[in-house]
């Protein structure tokens, strides 16, 4: 086990080095993801600041909680863009073109390589920007911040980044079984667009089932915020962990099944 971890760490560090060399060759648009996603979340911030000029609360959340929500979603998205997004989105093309062969023949996990081969350092400023939004939100909510709260919040950010990663892998792995997965990626885009703007507390009934269970984008930033402001109860915490564990199992099953189903370029 320890040897495996050591080996994987070496592989990851080599992949990062190669990626940096590659990025230095194509410097154009290095900070592109930062500007694109940065503008998206700043506009989001302006939208909710605008809404809160006219009202005091949305459900049980005031302006501070909403700013925290936007900052947290931005942080999870920033981690996604920084580490695995650009690697994972390439899965369908690699399946279609048969390029996945190259990944299967290497003596490392293909998913590990796909995950870390396209780290995007240009997205790092997004993490800093998100941290500023979160700090601003904390200031607005006016809560007592303790080390314990920060540790729990960081724990949830990591757990929800894993959930985001798993959802991306599941959706892209469908390409192992179908010719085109564009419809499913559009569902992903629509779900993300909606949950980026709406916290989980706004969902009810069938919408709650869809966005907090089937496509759980609705809990990704909601649970970390609830943990920080002290709204998260034990049931909510257990539910959050269960969802992530459940999706981890589903991701492993679909990925393994997909690899078995893979027939090189004819897939």
């Amino acid at each position: 086990m320890i040897n495996q971890i050591k080996k994987n760490s070496r592989v990851i560090s080599v992949l990062i080095k190669i990626r940096f060399q590659n990025l230095m060759m194509f410097r154009l648009g290095f900070f592109g993801p930062f500007f694109v996603d940065g503008s998206l979340f700043l506009i989001q911030l302006i939208v909710f600041q605008t809404i809160y000029l006219k009202i005091d609360r949305i459900g049980t959340w005031g302006r501070g909680e909403m700013v925290l929500y936007i900052g947290t979603f931005s942080m999870i998205n920033a981690i996604n863009m920084f580490i695995y997004f650009f690697g994972v989105i390439g899965i369908p093309d690699k399946i279609k073109s048969g390029e996945m062969d190259l990944y299967l023949t290497k003596p490392i996990s293909p998913l590990l390589r796909l995950t870390f081969e396209k780290i995007n350092p240009g997205s790092f400023p997004l993490i800093i920007m998100s941290a500023f939004i979160i700090a601003y939100g904390i200031n607005l909510v006016n809560i007592q911040i303790t080390i314990e709260k920060i540790v729990v919040y960081v724990f949830w950010i990591i757990v929800m980044s894993i959930l985001f990663y798993e959802l991306e892998v599941i959706i892209r792995s469908i390409s192992f079984f179908v010719i085109s997965n564009s419809s499913i990626t559009r569902i992903e885009e629509a779900g993300l667009e909606l949950c980026m703007q709406l916290p989980g507390i706004a969902f009810y009934g069938v919408y709650k089932l869809i966005f907090c269970c089937i496509l759980p984008y609705g809990i990704m930033a909601t649970i970390p915020v609830q943990s920080l402001v002290g709204d998260l109860n034990l049931t909510g915490a257990i539910y959050g962990v269960m969802v992530v564990v459940g999706f981890t199992v589903i991701t492993c099953l679909i990925w393994k099944r997909g690899i078995k189903n893979y027939n090189s370029a004819s897939s």
Binding site: V36, I43, T50, K54, R57, L194
Partner: protein, 264 residues
């Protein structure tokens, strides 16, 4: 004129190839309406009126603005021009005996004409599913003027995207800029939230720019508000169409020689 009608017809027919895309486009108009339904549902749970809107007038606003947004397919123009210039195949448009800008406007007309009926059906379906008491003006003059404003708005967006596409001649890669533009345009056209929620000073500034008249003002007019801004709106958006046309001519004249037909 006849050749541009033919181009529009070809693009209408071409859409039939992408039937799944048409269906998906219809389905995904729901995202913005669902967002409005849930967000404003939570807000109107404790408020009866926000910035002059009731719950149903707010949802009517979102239905109309989502419909207008869906109609605007001009993003295709800048992407097509940018890609073609980058890979050196823009020559295709330079050698055919048509005005390139008019070609793209005809393309936009064809695509919009095709999607018009489907987007209308989608809007009706969402009104029915979400049981929205839809608010719509009955004033014929307002409807007529708004229709004209919508047409000018669509024309302006087509011109804007054509202009941005041409900037590839100078800057080579504008993909990132186009994505940022989309984020900003979604906000300043009032597609995310009605602009009336902004402080008055910002709204006054926005009235000087064309984006106020693309989605926001037509949607407000169609739910029966801001009739007094109708005429000024038509004049401003028309002037912006003229201004951007001049900008297009200048840019094309200045940068077309930079195109080498080789690609990057």
């Amino acid at each position: 004129m006849r050749k541009y009608t033919e181009i529009a017809k070809i693009y209408i027919k071409a859409q039939l190839v992408w039937r799944a895309d048409v269906a998906l486009n219809m389905v995904f108009t729901v995202t913005r309406i669902l967002f409005a339904y849930l967000l404003w549902g939570a807000i109107f749970g404790t408020n009866t009126e926000v910035a002059g809107f009731t719950f149903y007038s707010m949802l009517s606003y979102y239905i109309i603005s989502a419909f207008l947004n869906q109609l605007d397919m001009s993003g295709l123009i800048s992407n097509e021009i940018s890609t073609r210039i980058r890979n050196g195949t823009y020559s295709k448009y330079m050698i055919i005996p048509v005005s390139i800008e008019k070609y793209f406007i005809a393309m936009e007309v064809g695509v919009v004409a095709f999607y018009l009926a489907f987007d209308f059906i989608a809007a009706m379906v969402w009104i029915f599913i979400f049981r929205i008491k839809f608010i719509f003006t009955t004033n014929v003059v307002t409807i007529g003027c708004t229709f004209l404003m919508i047409l000018l708005g669509l024309l302006f967006m087509a011109q804007l995207n054509y202009y941005l596409g041409l900037l590839t001649l100078k800057y080579q890669e504008i993909g990132m800029f186009l994505m940022i533009k989309n984020n900003i345009v979604a906000f300043v056209t009032g597609s995310i939230v009605p602009l009336v929620l902004l402080p008055k000073i910002y709204v006054s500034i926005m009235k000087l720019f064309p984006f106020y008249y693309i989605t926001y003002l037509p949607s407000m007019l169609l739910i029966g508000r801001y009739q007094n801004e109708m005429l000024v709106g038509l004049i401003v958006i028309f002037l912006w169409c003229v201004i951007i046309q001049i900008l297009i001519q200048v840019t094309w004249g200045k940068y077309r020689r930079k195109y080498d037909g080789v690609g990057i």
